[in-house]
Symmetry: C2
Subunit: 160 residues, 2 copies
Amino acid sequence: MALEIERKFLVADDGWRRQAGPGQPMRQGYLAGGKQVSVRVRVAGTQAWLNVKQAQSLTVRREYEYPIPLADARELLAHACESGVVEKTRYRVPHAGHVWEVDVFHGDNEGLVVAEVELASEDQPFECPAWLGRDVSAHARYLNHALARHPYREWAGSED
Amino acid sequence: MALEIERKFLVADDGWRRQAGPGQPMRQGYLAGGKQVSVRVRVAGTQAWLNVKQAQSLTVRREYEYPIPLADARELLAHACESGVVEKTRYRVPHAGHVWEVDVFHGDNEGLVVAEVELASEDQPFECPAWLGRDVSAHARYLNHALARHPYREWAGSED
């Protein structure tokens, strides 16, 4: 088990692309996703994982991750996920001692770009890069399992 | 992925104990359990697994099983399961070319004993041992994830 302490932001502009590494396309779906526990299947390239997250709070989660065969993951994504599959490209962007993960969503979540930073503790300070937008850590609709059920394209203007 | 084709019965008497191997105590809980997909954490002795089952019908399920660290499984059982933990002792009972699994439940499911046989196909013939009771394959309440939510002790007399 790892404790995942994360903050999530929108991005204000494309400035992050100058520091970004190569993008990693990902497809993921949820076997279950509630307020407390989510069970995720993720495929990235030729690797796949089953992941369990249990929310402690909006920014802190216990996380368990296990590699699984790619063929299993593809079957689970095709047949066993409770709602849509989330497609995105993830970029790693180093900034001031942290590595930000910028997720550019596709498909039904096209248009959404979020940046996440993982922290060692909830009160660890971190520097916000200039391209960073609004903090959406407290907004459950930006959780990936929420995006699988209620994708960005379906959001009313007032929601984002 | 394995296809699990199973029939489940009550037991009429203790006759199965004469042929039974040693019992294996098991504790299991569910991170998610719906009509279609269940995600199970199981501990048996010093081993643990994460298991995903997707129902094709009442007797046929796609099954995916992955070993996980015992410490993870214990944490998941303690903190992440949506309802109670199911405790049982499993006995393997060979009979006429099949190995029956007899589950003797404990805790909130004390008093319930079921016997399962795994088949290679839905129409594979099998011999019913003399100690076998009623076929409950079609009764969803006997599914282990249902027993976690609504244990045997809470059943009204008319339900069993």
